[in-house]
């Protein structure tokens, strides 16, 4: 085979080149843990629209990044076995301020929906208790307003222990209720586990480990 620059190579050379490329690629694979999203980072945006909707008096927000490692993953799987692989990786928490005052948190969770992936944005108060939620992407069918109101009223003001208790004790939960409440549990648990610096003294007093959470359930 002759190249434009005049060099020639035997027939095996392109195969060797590809072999070298793949060997080096495999070597790279070995150098890193295989935990991945298949989403490019240019893709990540911030839920500013939701912040503006639920914190209309906010003046700024700050992004915190945290890594869900094997330990956190294992604890989530113990209590919520339906969690899927995308729980791995780096997640973001958005801390919302009005001037110098912290007024709340926003955390987005991607959940397995009925017909595709749902993206639920959880809005937390400054005390790390749930305020409300919003579907940014909903592939499970429209949510009736009555269901939205019922779930919001059921979850508003609850901390992690109380939300897990709702999941365990509430008798009239349908499948979709359970998916949404499980998402709330994950949002609160992940937030506590990987951003402990955000916990107020009030929430720290009821801090919960994965095993403790298991015992609640």
């Amino acid at each position: 085979m002759k190249y434009d620059d005049g060099r020639t190579h035997g027939h095996k050379t392109p195969l060797l080149r590809r072999g070298i490329l793949w060997m080096l690629s495999l070597l790279l694979l070995q150098l890193s843990a295989a935990k991945a999203y298949a989403i490019a980072y240019c893709a990540i945006r911030e839920p500013v629209s939701v912040i503006q909707e639920f914190f209309p008096t906010y003046t700024s927000y700050r992004t915190l990044e945290g890594l869900i490692d094997e330990n956190v993953r294992q604890e989530i799987v113990e209590v919520l076995p339906e969690s899927h692989f995308q729980e791995f990786g780096i997640h973001s928490l958005y801390v919302v301020y009005r001037e110098e005052t912290l007024i709340g948190f926003v955390h987005a969770r991607t959940e397995k929906g009925r017909f595709g992936l749902d993206e639920i944005i959880w809005i937390l108060g400054s005390d790390m208790r749930l305020k409300t939620f919003k579907f940014q992407k909903n592939r499970s069918g429209a949510i009736p307003q009555s269901m939205l109101v019922r779930l919001t009223n059921m979850l508003a003001g609850l901390d992690l222990i109380r939300v897990t208790n709702v999941l365990r004790t509430e008798p009239n939960l349908n499948q979709r209720d359970r998916v949404i409440i499980s998402s709330a549990v994950k949002a609160l648990f992940v937030t506590k586990a990987i951003w402990p610096q955000t916990q107020s003294p009030l929430t720290q007093s009821s801090e919960l480990s994965g095993s403790a959470l298991s015992s609640v359930l």
Binding site: A38, I39, A40, Y41, R45, S49, L117
Partner: protein, 359 residues
């Protein structure tokens, strides 16, 4: 005698390391291998998100006379960091540095000079300064995707599935400066850029202006969040053949879901070098409940009014993408090109791709 020249007299080095193609690969991988553990360590310490990607893909042109099979290998680094102050974000940095190698591709990116070639590629490399601190006004500087049409909500980064934009604007990435932000339910973005595409070139003084307003989205996805967008484009674009193409466009794009099915569409209207132009894309897709298996059919239509009347370029595609294993995706696509501006013959194109991304 200089050491490199001495080494190149050796048979092994002459064959495998004095070849420009291999030298680029070797340099890249050596750099990445040394850099990779450091990046990984740094990620844990100061919030850099780092990922590494390897992609191998091929296309088979069923009706071409020769060189039917072509391959493209890419590997690269995707790094992102949000620099934050005590109460607000200061800036977001995104760096995507790749090495791309082509092997006998009939249709290959314009920056490749030979049938067998490797080139470093800068994809996104930008800083987005959070000027207002509340997300309403950011100032972007660097190399970025043009904010036009479906490329904003849909992530087609290194995927077989493509959406119409390159045919409209003749480029996907460009160097420039812009503003972006979120106002209520809508995101806006505007970019004034060089107009030379993926490579910075300034001969013949190209330029472009692109802007889009659309429903606010939380992130780009292969199957994006539903919504509508309105885009405009104007520019003198420097094509890979060195010519300037004067283009204007206005485009409407939309995404909607019906249970397991999604409809993605984009229609653009305008001028290409004073020729009236309209282009359209409609896609129907299907996915499983975690979107790890996605199938789609697409119809694309490109239309321009030449001196001897309207000419049309039409194609239909059917494809699938699978990602059951974390980080690993593979995809296949069959396209029939019914006609083009240059010929009336049909062309069948088979494509496949393997991709691994890990962080």
């Amino acid at each position: 005698m200089e050491v490199p020249a001495l080494l190149c007299n050796n048979y092994f080095f002459n064959n495998y390391f004095c070849n420009n193609y291999l030298r680029k690969i070797a340099v890249l991988f050596t750099a990445v291998i040394f850099w990779c553990p450091n990046l990984y360590a740094v990620q844990g310490e100061n919030g850099w998100r780092n990922a590494f990607e390897i992609v191998a893909g091929g296309t088979y042109l069923a009706d071409a006379d020769a060189d039917k099979m072509g391959l493209l290998y890419t590997t690269g680094i995707d790094a992102r960091k949000v620099f934050a102050g005590s109460k607000s974000n200061i800036a977001t940095v995104n760096l995507q540095l790749d090495m791309w190698c082509t092997d006998n591709q009939t249709r290959r990116p314009g920056f490749f000079e030979k049938d067998h070639d490797c080139d470093p590629v800068v994809r996104n490399a930008f800083v987005n300064f959070h000027a207002s601190g509340d997300g309403k006004l950011n100032i972007l500087l660097g190399h970025t995707e043009l904010p036009f049409g479906l490329e904003v909500p849909v992530s087609t980064s290194k995927s077989l599935r493509t959406l119409l934009t390159p045919k409209d604007l003749a480029m996907k990435l460009d160097w420039g400066v812009g503003i972006n932000g979120t106002l209520g339910k809508f995101d806006y973005s505007a970019l004034l850029s060089r107009g030379s595409g993926i490579e910075y070139r300034h001969n013949k003084d190209p330029w472009s202006f692109t802007a889009r307003v659309g429903h606010s989205i939380n992130r780009q996805r292969f199957l994006p969040e539903p919504g509508l967008g309105l885009s405009i484009f104007r520019g003198n674009v420097l094509l890979t053949n060195g010519n300037i193409s004067e283009r204007e466009r206005i485009a409407l794009d939309g995404v909607r879901y019906f249970k397991r099915f999604g409809v993605v569409s984009q229609f653009s209207f305008g001028d290409t070098d004073d020729r009236e132009t309209w282009n359209g894309l409609v896609e129907l897709n299907w996915s499983n409940s975690i979107e790890s298996a996605v199938g789609y059919i697409q119809y694309k239509s490109y239309n321009q009014e030449f001196l001897d009347g309207w000419k049309r370029e039409k194609s239909g595609s059917i494809g699938a993408r699978f990602g059951q294993i974390a980080g690993f995706t593979w995809a296949v696509q069959y396209t029939r090109e019914f006609s083009s501006f240059k010929s009336n013959g049909d062309q069948d194109v088979l494509g496949f791709q393997l991709k691994y991304r890990w962080e």
